[in-house]
Symmetry: C2
Subunit: 495 residues, 2 copies
Amino acid sequence: MGLRLAPIKKAAVIGGGVIGAGWVARLATGGIDVAVHDPAPETQRRVEAVLANAARAAAKLTSAPQPISGAVTFAASIGEAAAGSDLIVEAVPERLDIKQQVYAKAEEAAPDDALIASSTSGIVPTKLQAQLSRPERLLVAHPFNPVYLMPLVEVVGGQSTAPEAIERAMSLFRDLGMHPLHVRIEIDAFIADRLMEAAWREALWLVHDGVATTAEIDDAIRFGFGLRWAQMGMFETYRTAGGEGGLRQFLKQFGPCLQWPWTKLTDVPELTDALIDTIAAQSDAQSGGYTLDELERIRDDNLVGILQALKANDWGAGKTLAEHERRLMNAQAAEADPADLSQPIRTFSRRVPPDWADYNNHMTESRYLECFAQATDALLRMIGVDGDYVASGGSYFTVETHIRHLAEVAAGEPVHATTQVLHAAGKTLRLFHQLFHDGGTLLATGEHMLIHVDLQTRRASAPPVAIGERAAKLAAAHADLPLPDGAGRAIGKLR
Amino acid sequence: MGLRLAPIKKAAVIGGGVIGAGWVARLATGGIDVAVHDPAPETQRRVEAVLANAARAAAKLTSAPQPISGAVTFAASIGEAAAGSDLIVEAVPERLDIKQQVYAKAEEAAPDDALIASSTSGIVPTKLQAQLSRPERLLVAHPFNPVYLMPLVEVVGGQSTAPEAIERAMSLFRDLGMHPLHVRIEIDAFIADRLMEAAWREALWLVHDGVATTAEIDDAIRFGFGLRWAQMGMFETYRTAGGEGGLRQFLKQFGPCLQWPWTKLTDVPELTDALIDTIAAQSDAQSGGYTLDELERIRDDNLVGILQALKANDWGAGKTLAEHERRLMNAQAAEADPADLSQPIRTFSRRVPPDWADYNNHMTESRYLECFAQATDALLRMIGVDGDYVASGGSYFTVETHIRHLAEVAAGEPVHATTQVLHAAGKTLRLFHQLFHDGGTLLATGEHMLIHVDLQTRRASAPPVAIGERAAKLAAAHADLPLPDGAGRAIGKLR
């Protein structure tokens, strides 16, 4: 599968910390080769650990077809990494001098039109680009940890940044499944970190004053407004709570509260040793029961679940995911070879998501039918029963199903289904699916009788000629295949 | 079903705005009768609209058995509402004098030991309770909108509040499926609103300075850190990002950033008419395409999805939901009558969740099997195959399934399943489920062959005598029932 979305082939990532490694995973998953440079000896181990987490999360997140992952290599110098790269991602410590040294070395080796994107959380791009020979190609692309799952990337240009560079970056990040937000005015810390810092200072005061522990503050967030902010921000949330008058009414009602003595915002708590000791000890008490690996996986599983939940509602970050999946599916459809119709057709493949396992530690029975239902949908699309056709008022309904569960399969395993058309005539379509582990084991068979229906009357009706002909063509192509084991069978005699 | 969890029978809610109405829904859903008082003429309409939204959300949120909803009545006075109430919830505007008038009237009519809970977002309970004759029973119970879905409630006592009152309130809110957070030190605005206010002021500055629009700020939240804060708060999030050294390392690395000129926190923006106009217009542009009803339902659907996603990971607010469901299921099991074994056994009931519908606008085929799988699980629990038994190393696996899809069913409709034991002998168990709309229509039948397995060898094995006997007893009780239509059938002849 040569599926590609991103218009570039190679990127360099300078800096292999949490953010740099996250960028490596996001870029490589998007099919881009990545050369990493970081002199720290543990770089390769850290990057590979993040790549493993990213692969695990991606398998859970989506069943959409994926590009072949880009190759990840470790370069001995900035120049070696930058050579031939269309994008240079800088993710080194937050010191202007260090960053400018990176840009100077990168510019020596990189193509003239390579984008240079800084991951800085706070330094404005006009300062970053001051010493570049081609400053128009530098911008800030501020991502959020974990970069391979979090959709947001703040894109900020400086005084010398070319609008075309902003456009290229926005387009690239969309191709990587992200939600680029163009920060139009460059200010220190951009948008998200200003909000986070404000809450963070307040949290430090609460700990400092002994009002609440780190665990209590986290609970006040995750059992409360954090749930709201995962899907609407604060303005839309308040609008929704404010009644028919929109935000004007809300501000009228709650605006005066801003003058109340509610916050300690007029000062920044000093990070004394005593305060650091308090916070570190409270955090140990709160989260020390988990290893860092465990916390990362818990976080990723939760983010995956939240993104999927929002996808089901086609909203916010879930909409970003849905749109990316559509792009991937369209790209795959556009390049698909015509199927070999003389054999059962491969109609479904994915890794078993972790939440498809049940208390017996294997894929739960209803998910077998979900695999078969997706295989049926793929077969139906082949004969022209797609979203447009359903919208026009016709569809097929399954009226009978016979499943044989032949072998177990665990979460994370790769599976695929093939489909044989047993019969197609008039209103009926009879399919036989086989679900395999990619290693070859037959896991289950599913036999399904479908009837074409008119979605207005909800009654059986003849399909349009073109659809009937395509179905008949598949049935004819499969007519000489042997009848699969289990076809036409019942569970067995009774009494 | 007389299922009850909450120890009280009647509550009064004074104030029928967004928060008051949300409390009414949370309390009534928990099986508590609620008397509402609010002189505003639109109170009943508003409360009933919120009750409808709450019922809709609850049907999507959980399939756990629910108490019969409490009766909601509208009282002509505070005294009428408070009479006989074990809990008085005050949700009137944020003015100390108004609140104290409410408490005075409530105390005249309410039982001596009724709790009085203020929904204030910011006034400390010591001020609220100053004029009460029994101040020890007043506390703050600060909820979050929508109260019927958001788990968090901050519980704050004043100088005169009895510890026993805090305990009673915490326990009651847990029984209502909430996550009570005891705010141990009373400060203005408690914990959550201090954090929210800090971010809110910063957001107002961003709009004031023209850096970002309300939509851009909301996107910076909901595509970014809002997703993180829905599951971990800020301390655990930073710990997870900070590496092996815990929060001490994180503070060492990022602590100095606090001194950067990143925020405008030293002042509060003045809410001039011009700023209000700007915010209101930007919010209209951002969200004006949705009606308020639509926004409320989008928000609720998203919260339901996020809570369910977190439940799948047994984490945070999802853990609260899972624990509440376990309490409800245990309560139901404790009061269940012995089943009438001479008839098929009712093993499953729920409303079809909206995300179970597919592109044909009816319950998708794999969810039929999910209904049957849950019915199978319920039947297995009846013969002793429960979580403990599975943990001990035995279980039943389904090896074959035959489904007849007989009628469609739409999202939101109530359905239930009955189960007939067709055969039970040795390692095998053969079940026949029928899925009905609660109105009586037979939607589908499912016939299932199960084999008892040893979970170590993953091979068929004889069940323990006790389990085999219970299965055989059910099969014997059902032996004289007529063979259900469709049992033993195959999809039909082939070729």
